[in-house]
């Protein structure tokens, strides 16, 4: 007991003392040389933040339109007429080269090639091929950069999603948005720096779960904040009935003076963090309704995104909300649209999925562009892997399915320092293997960080004795697609 009293009196205990001393002496010499401000601020994370971004960023914010379930590249952006010509013929072994398959088609005795049910046309200055079910995306093709040569190692949804978002197929690493929140902080201190919006399509869906927007081993302030479609977009943010804003203010003032007393006594920085978080929540109480209110949007905006944008919880509504959040300084807005897992019934399901997302995705590009924000906002559209060029299940002229295919798939990016009107990478005529400019998930992640002004090799966090980064030990910036 005496010991505790002594520690209390000194505002110090053994653990705190040791951690301070070891950190202090160790970093004293080197740290003061490398980071001149080290001893002016709190050190540690603050010092890291002060050195970020590493160079002039091209993009200030990201909106990631994740198409969860993996949309087929062969019915969207990777036009392969050869598959229509050889419809029903066997996938040559020279193309497949013994690649592993999922348990869903591994047992299939034959792998008949199947071509796109939908037609394709060429659009834009660079005559990019786009399928007929994405007519609005086709209209903005000169503003986007289609990458046809993405590839991943994962072959099932969870690992592939987790890989895309966190840089590892398993485990609880921080999501890309959390890394950016950690690296760059929030632009607007009245809103979270990482927001998550979910919507569900009519197609065969795969779940999304909070692991995908986790802060992992980073501080929990970097976790993605999920906005729900209900009247309370952020849970537990509104005051209970009967409490007005002045009462809340007075309550917080008293609470913070109590916390201050505690802080004087114990000196625990967590207490200060708590005070600040209460204050942020208080500011969010006005900032969130301001952002989520779409009643003042002009009619033309509603027509642009489609009337669905007025129905909370739809993809279109989320796109509109994403623009509003992003324009209000939210660093990373992550959308997930579920229902892209067309193992069967593809011709019927995929057009519904495309209808859900096509108009609003294109509207988002146009909307950012007309406000002068597209140059500083990076928009990404894509799923976690591609789909096979052969049919899963029974092949019919007007009905087929496609299994998971990690070796080649298409995504698109727009704005924020990415070349516009570009088609990058190429697959073979079977749409199975990449023949030109492959882009690995880690390359993609490195490029995204690069656009935000971050050297992906230098944004690290020490955890369990080693430094982690989003790109692990890989990743090469895809310079070819940068402006």
């Amino acid at each position: 007991m005496e010991k505790e009293q002594l520690e209390h009196g000194l505002n110090q205990n053994r653990r705190k003392f040791l951690s301070k001393v070891s950190l202090g002496i160790g970093s004293l010499a080197l740290g003061s040389l490398l980071i001149p401000d080290l001893f002016k601020g709190k050190g540690g994370e603050d010092a890291l933040m002060a050195a970020l971004p590493h160079f002039a960023p091209k993009a200030k914010r990201i909106i990631y339109l994740f198409q969860n379930g993996a949309p087929s590249q062969l019915e969207s952006f990777d036009y392969k007429p050869m598959l229509n010509q050889q419809m029903g013929q066997e996938l040559p072994e020279s193309i497949r080269m013994g690649q592993r398959l999922t348990g869903m088609t591994a047992g299939q005795s034959s792998f008949p090639l199947v071509g796109s049910y939908y037609g394709f046309m060429q659009y834009g200055e660079h005559r990019a091929w786009i399928s007929d079910i994405f007519p609005h995306t086709a209209k903005v093709v000169d503003d986007i950069c289609i990458i046809k040569s993405m590839h991943t190692e994962a072959i099932n949804h969870d690992p592939a999603l987790t890989f895309f978002q966190t840089g590892a197929q398993v485990g609880n690493r921080p999501s890309m948005g959390a890394w950016l929140s950690y690296g760059l902080g929030s632009e607007n201190n009245n809103l979270p720096s990482f927001c998550v919006l979910l919507s569900r399509g009519k197609g065969n869906g795969q779940g999304v779960y909070s692991k995908l927007w986790t802060n992992g081993f980073l501080d929990s302030v970097h976790q993605g904040v999920q906005f729900s479609a209900s009247e309370d977009p952020v849970l537990y943010l509104s005051d209970p009935k009967g409490m007005n804003r002045e009462d809340r203010r007075r309550m917080l003032d008293h609470l913070s003076s109590l916390n201050e007393v505690n802080y004087q006594e114990f000196g625990d920085p967590e207490i200060q963090a708590k005070i600040q978080q209460y204050e942020m929540a208080f500011r969010m109480q006005t900032a969130v309704p301001e952002v989520t209110d779409i009643s003042k949007e002009p009619d033309s905006i509603i027509k642009m995104y489609g009337p669905d944008c007025l129905v909370p919880g739809t993809y279109a509504a989320n796109c509109l909300l994403a623009r509003k959040l992003s324009e209000s300084g939210v660093r990373f807005v992550q959308l997930y649209h579920q229902g892209w897992d067309q193992h069967g019934n593809l011709p019927r399901e995929m057009i519904n999925q495309a209808n859900d997302v096509d108009q609003a995705s294109a509207a988002l590009i146009t909307d950012l562009k007309q406000r002068g924000l597209l140059d500083e906002t990076l928009v990404i559209w894509g799923g976690e892997f591609g789909r096979t060029n052969y049919c899963q299940g029974k092949i019919q002229l007007d009905n087929y399915g496609r299994d998971h295919h990690p070796r080649a798939f298409s995504i698109w990016m727009a704005g924020g320092g990415v070349k516009s009107g570009m088609v990058y990478g190429e697959t073979d005529e079977f749409g199975y293997n990449i023949v030109e400019n492959p882009v690995h998930i880690h390359d993609f992640q490195a490029t995204v960080l690069h656009l935000m002004g971050i050297d992906h090799e230098r944004l690290t966090f020490k955890h369990l004795g080693r430094r982690y980064r989003l790109t692990d030990v890989h990743g090469k910036v895809v310079n070819d697609i940068l402006v």
Binding site: G329, D367, M422
Partner: protein
Amino acid sequence: MTQNRKIVSFLENSLIVFNGLILAFVIGKQYISLPPFLEVFGRMHPLLLHFPIVLLVLAGLLFWFPKILDHNSNSLLQILLLLSLFFTGLTVIAGLFLSAEEGYVQEDLQNHQWTGLLVFWLGSVWYLAWAKGKSILAKTMSVSVLVLVLVTGHLGASLTHGEDFLLFPISSKVSAPVVSLEEAVAYDHIIRPILEQKCVSCHKASKQKGDLRLDEVRFILAGGKNGDVIDLENPENSEILQRISLPIEEEEHMPPKGKPQLTETEIQLLETWILENALFEKKVVEYPETSPFFTFANTLFDDKKEEVYDFDFASKKTITGLNHEYRVVQALYPDSPALRVSYFGKAQFDAASLDELKKINIQLVDLNLQNMSLKDEDLSYLSHFQNLKILNLNFTGINGSGLQHVQDLKKLKSLSLTGNNLSEDAVNYLKKLSHLEALFIWNTGLDNKTIAELKSELPKTKIETGYSDDGEIYQLNPPEIKAEKAIFTGEMEINLKHPIGSVSIFYTLDNTIPDSSNHILYEGPFKIDKNITLRTRAFADGWSGSDEKSAVFLKSGIKPDEVTFLQSPDKRFKANGTATLFDLEKGDEEFSSGSWLGFRQNPMEIKMEFNETRTINNIAFSLLEVGASYIVPPYKIEIWSTGKDGTERLIQTDFPEQPEKIRKNQVFLKEYPIKKENVSAIRAKLSPVNPLPKWHPGAGEKGWVFIDEILIN
């Protein structure tokens, strides 16, 4: 002493022999053919040459400052001089042998050879003059020799390491082209500088190694002794490409080992340019953006795009002082003095706070005021920010009459004005902003004529007018129905809402579809006091009418004292048994939610008894239709009532209308007026459809009846 004498005499003899040999070599060079072992000796030239340099410098030192050593230095000086001349001779002979090999630039080689020979000859004279005591001659020679050593050394270095090897690091390194990307010509501004830096020193008029010149287009096309350097027919076979891509150890590799090498970018530029047909005249911007040459060439101009800010940094204290929750002031990136300021939180915004930014008026380059409420006179604050480059005034409520204050911001490149209703004044001010690179005027109320005028006044500005309504008619989405609960007592208020303000909301209460001929216009909340089916749609100009939205509202009524199922519900959908039917909780459209009772094998048959006789006006059943799950309206509804006398009479038989296709899922009401007094019990029987009709996917099987509430009034 004798030992010293022996050495001196050996060295003096060597001096005579070397002089003779060298003279013979110089005169008869072209007649001599060397045996291989002498070639080896020749190649020792770069090794040997260090000895004479050091020894001559030492000898010079001792010659000029004899007192460096305490005692008589004469004999030491003699040995030193002779030794240095001995090695000079060896070096010169080796050099002469080496020069007989091919591969050296004749002009440079000649200079180096003759200065080298002079070192040896004048050195010999120096020794003789010193030995004979002719001090003036000796002094002259010593100076000449030392200077010549320097010159020879430098020429030799140029020979092996390339011209300007010594001064390269301080001479200008022009790697970025001097013109802008738009003007750059592929050969003139990208390829030629590379050739000039890395190739021309050996392939020019004065020095045509391999009979090749790369200093002018016609010589490049003419090729060298091995033929074409660039093969225009098959660019990939061009010799220059093969040479530069060989490993550096290969003899054929170019530039030769030891010479300044091509960087990776330079190789990529050369390669892509040649593979894309080596077009000498083509401008860089004329290449397609996807062309690899364009990609690499484009990166050379990157530095030029990056604005360099050379003004002073604002103090940390100032920046911190200006930052708060609703105003973020931060550097563009850590090492930049340039600042970006963003305002957030409309409610907290005060335009006067712009005045505080005067403290950073030099550093402010990017100001984001979107969605803040501004008056046009507030724009006068902006005139202080002389370095402002990006200004965002979207949706600030200005009409632009204050844009005169922006006119003097000569660095302004991007101006966003979307969402503001711009006045004529605004347009006139905008016309003067010819230095703008981008102007955003979507949703500013300007008509096409004005926009066309602006575009012609500002030919260099990219004017973004954004989305324009192309007249496509979209369907509205249905209104929202807001009511406190689905089953009410007494009366209840109902609100209808739509997110678009300009719509008209039509509704009906008689279970008909609202359309142009049949509707009530919603003008505000209304009250209901009986069971109703509300159906509503939204209409607006420029849109097609919405789908309908419907809801059933039930007035709670008399609860029977005893309720018994005469036939039991399906065991999967038992809910809370009979209590479910009178719990005043409406089920949603989810049949498995646990608030619905389901019947399939048996009809739903129920007896409701009252302890005291009642007057019953009507009875209503709240039912569900989910066609895809075989849940359809009952085939037949029968109702019996028992009067005071205890006899039961059938009072109602109905065959509800059956769907002809799978319809939208719905909760619907079947209501029957009874108008009976003194009722002591009621029995109701709802029989499922059996079998389902032919059009249904489950044709031939039994249908379901789902019920969640019975209301007796």
